[in-house]
Amino acid sequence: MSEAAVGITRDEVAHLARLARLAVTDEELDVFAGQLDVILGAVARVQEVAAADIPPTSHAVPLTNVFRPDVNVPCLPRDEVLAAAPAAEDGRFRVPRILDEEA
């Protein structure tokens, strides 16, 4: 397998980590930058295939518009669901602040 580096930089990996909501450490950035560079170099081989006229396959079994009967069924028990959450309050999920305070 060819392992030609694609030249992904440490800064690009930091950007990917931000997009993916991963607070990676500086040490991880060094390790991941090297590893992702090698992996991307290997998987870039898909570009060797001349495939201008080949349709993409997103799914091995072609399916469109799958419906099931529209019947009322009970939802999951609220207390059990909230008991499995990191924090709950007044019968709802409790989350850290979403908006900046000084608005």
Partner: protein
């Protein structure tokens, strides 16, 4: 009589006839787990009370005169990626440590309906990403044939449990080979059903267009019985196929007669050669000779696009995973780290995911994020999807001259724990043989074909969509020719 040495079919019959009870059978396996699992580490959670209660339920139904199904009362090891109401489900990850699911997966429901007794939840590579269980946040499982080697992965806990006689049945999930590869390296039978054959409802998602649950067992008939119990259309999974379950049990019985007269076997040229151990290739050649002896005709076929399966898979699966794993947002379930009342949701989310995911999961999330990002999408993800089309076309052409296609199930025997842990590409190569059928959504089985230097080798048998029965027929014929399950030859633990 040692109940742990019996097959699931034998146990089911003995329980139904009253020769033994499900409680006795279940207790024997719980005792076996207590005796060996400190060395094998197949289980993340043993549900002793729940298993014995389920066993008592089956025994009571029998005492009431109810006719029981073929696997009623038989114990099973369930991969920890399948959710179980009231029983912890971690997916091998810290991010779900301590999570008690509020619902059952359809597979779990079907097991209960069949009277199958769930002994506990088995170890796995975190989020099913890996080929060795070394990516589990809870430490690796060990191969019962050689405790210093991996039991394969990602479903290595289930394969180790079945090979160690801790359970006669196991359930794994296979995205790129995670049933077939662990089955091969532990000397047991493992089948990946046609995509859509088994419901994915309650299977914690890794790569939704590829994930598929399937059976492990020490015999082909046992795997077929479990396949029938867990398969079938499910309105809760929109990708579930609305068609009858292929007649896999009948096929296993038919194959068990050892007659393959008229069957056309295609050997995939591209799944051999460089990267394949000589011992694996030798055992595979022997298996082909045995297929001919049993009446099959064997010829070589070429599938030129298979050489691109590995790069295509390692773009498609990470892309889907980067999307699927976004649900771990520190809000609805699992871990939350750094919530000090000051940090924002986004900061808490990032700290939680950093603390909760292991390195392989992070690598794949970032790889997928890259492959899907603007400017790279066409060159990576888009191109990988086109390769997927080409692989399906190669299969279609090969099945014009062959009823089944065969290859080794893995390029090597079980490798030592630690050998590939820091080399992602070497680890990915363990899936070399299994990826094409995954990408095309086709059924494929791994059946023990022999030993190389004392370690198991598996033969992969692939079939067209919804022809899972062909896999079982060929596998059962090879097993019948050997005369006994390969695990009978395993060293005592």
């Amino acid at each position: 009589m040692d109940l742990t040495r019996m097959t699931a079919a034998e146990l089911g019959a003995a329980i139904a006839s009253g020769e033994t009870s499900s409680v006795e059978v279940t207790q024997a396996h719980l005792d076996r787990i207590a005796a060996v699992d400190d060395r094998v580490h197949a289980f993340l959670h043993v549900d002793t009370d729940g298993a014995l209660a389920a066993a008592r339920g089956v025994d009571e139904r029998r005492d009431d005169g109810e006719t029981l199904g073929p696997l009623a009362g038989v114990p099973l090891a369930l991969k920890d990626v399948i959710v179980t109401r009231g029983i912890p489900t971690t997916v091998g990850s810290r991010i779900l440590e301590g999570w008690i699911p509020p619902y059952d997966a359809t597979v779990t429901t079907k097991l209960r309906e069949a009277g199958i007794v769930v002994l506990g939840k088995t170890n796995m590579d975190e989020f099913a990403m890996g080929s060795s269980t070394e990516n589990s946040a809870y430490g690796p499982s060990h191969n019962p044939w050689d405790l210093d080697r991996v039991p394969g992965g990602s479903s290595g806990g289930s394969s180790a449990a079945v090979a160690a006689f801790s359970a006669p049945l196991g359930i794994g999930t296979d995205t790129g080979g995670s049933i077939r590869q662990p089955a091969a390296v532990t000397g047991i039978v493992g089948h990946k059903p046609t995509y859509g054959g088994v419901s994915r409802y309650g299977l914690v998602a890794f790569s939704s267009s590829l994930d598929q649950a399937g059976p492990f067992a020490r015999t082909v008939l046992d795997a077929a019985l479990l396949h029938e119990a867990m398969a079938g259309h499910d309105p809760m999974d929109s990708t579930s196929i609305d068609a009858p379950v292929p007649p896999v049990v009948a096929a296993a019985r038919q194959g068990g007669t050892g007659d393959l007269t008229g069957l056309r076997v295609g050997v995939v040229r591209e799944l051999s050669g460089e990267g394949y151990e000589p011992g694996v290739e030798a055992v595979t050649r022997e298996a082909l000779a045995r297929l001919e002896k049993l009446g099959a005709t064997v010829h070589e076929v070429s599938c030129p696009s298979f050489g691109y399966a590995l790069p295509a898979y390692y773009l498609i699966a990470p892309s889907e995973c980067s999307s699927n794993l976004a649900r771990f947002d520190a809000v609805r379930y699992g871990l939350r780290v750094g919530d000090d009342g000051v940090r924002s949701l986004e900061e808490v989310m990032s700290l939680t995911r950093e603390a909760g995911f292991g390195p392989e999961v992070k690598r794949r999330i970032m790889l997928g994020t890259y492959a899907l990002s603007s400017g790279y999408y066409d060159a990576y993800y888009g191109q990988a999807q086109k390769v997927r089309t080409l692989i399906s076309r190669d299969f279609a052409a090969a099945f014009e001259t062959a009823d089944v296609l065969v290859s080794p199930a893995t390029p090597t025997v079980a490798f030592p724990i630690g050998e590939r842990a820091n080399d992602p590409l070497a680890m990915y190569a363990a899936d070399l043989c299994t990826l094409p059928a995954s990408l095309a959504g086709l059924p494929a089985i791994s059946v023990p074909s022999g030993l190389s230097e004392g370690l198991p080798v598996g033969l992969q048998v692939m079939a067209p969509a919804l022809a899972d029965d062909r896999c079982y027929r060929v596998a059962a014929a090879l097993e019948a020719d050997r005369g006994h399950p390969l695990t009978e030859e395993a060293p005592a633990l």
